[in-house]
């Protein structure tokens, strides 16, 4: 097995993350993640929170079992670097490479941490983007709130 890559910056981790995602490469994907117990991954489908290496690994095995075949282009990315943590936020614009008319948008927060083995992903929180008619807070957010209506 190849030696694990060492990422010199949060941007390198992020590039490797989306490359591994698009290639559905589980080894490359898990090389991106910190091995700390506090890692967190929330996928936009299902909305469960996966905590720790084992759950995050199982989550990606399930994602990659679906033959994703997706292309992901990031937009509206903002970045904050503060000591040993970096926070990137933006939109994932997703198309299926064989069905370019199928499009989706996902809001993401990616948090990277500097470890002894270089920069690693610590948290990935992805959730479905708004429906076209939703601006700001969803209608009924305050008074008749049922998050599960969004599934």
């Amino acid at each position: 097995m190849d030696r694990e890559p060492v990422f010199a910056s949060p941007d390198e981790v992020e590039a490797a993350y989306y490359d591994a995602f698009q290639r559905a490469d589980i080894d490359a994907m898990m090389a991106v993640w910190s091995e700390a117990d506090h890692i967190v991954c929330v996928h936009p489908v299902g909305g469960y929170r996966l905590c720790g290496w084992r759950q995050v690994l199982e989550g990606w095995i399930n994602v990659f079992a679906r033959e994703l075949d997706v292309l992901i282009r990031l937009s509206d990315v903002t970045k904050t670097l503060n000591g040993s943590l970096a926070i990137h936020s933006g939109l994932e614009n997703i198309v299926r490479s064989k069905q370019p008319e199928v499009r989706g948008q996902v809001v993401f927060t990616n948090i990277y941490e500097r470890t002894e083995a270089g920069w690693k992903m610590m948290l990935h929180h992805a959730s479905p983007g708004p429906r076209p008619d939703v601006i700001g807070a969803p209608a009924g957010f305050a008074t008749d709130y049922d998050p599960n209506q969004f599934h």
Binding site: H43, Y48, R131
Partner: protein, 146 residues
């Protein structure tokens, strides 16, 4: 005099936890001023309400809270399953919000809350919230995740 000085130099939120508690208390009490006190007064703040668009900048974030509170929010929160990562200047909290209306569970939301030390206080710089399965925000059966 000395007591007054100590009072005046006391940061509003001395810890990320204090800022987080103030965030949810302000939310429950529909208190816009208290909510905006929690947020960092900077243009790079981010807020994603469940199912909502990504709001960037204090003005957009404040307007969203104005809308939510203006509608007469009646939500209360139980926070569970917290995961914290802290550095001297930045704190990342992953929390599960169990949302109650009149005492009954109305939904579960996962939130990634980020706080930054701004020299005088911890303040919220990012709130990303998304709907979670009602039974639990954490994975119960990994094979059902997707």
């Amino acid at each position: 005099m000395r007591a007054a000085l100590e009072m005046s130099s006391k940061p509003p939120f001395a810890t990320p936890q204090a800022a987080e508690q103030a965030f949810y208390v302000a939310f429950e009490q529909n208190d816009l001023d208290a909510m905006l006190e929690v947020w960092a007064p900077i243009d790079s703040v981010l807020c994603i309400h469940p199912g909502g668009e990504r709001l960037h900048g204090l003005q957009a974030v404040a307007e969203s809270w104005r809308q939510i509170f203006g509608a007469g929010s009646t939500l209360s929160f139980e926070l569970t399953l917290d995961q914290y990562t802290h550095t001297p200047d930045l704190a990342v909290h992953s929390v599960q919000e169990r949302i109650l209306v009149a005492g009954s569970l109305r939904g579960v939301v996962l939130a990634t809350n980020v706080y930054e030390w701004l020299g005088d206080s911890w303040r919220m710089v990012s709130h990303h919230a998304s709907p979670a399965p009602r039974e639990s925000g954490d994975v119960a059966v990994p094979s059902q995740v997707h």
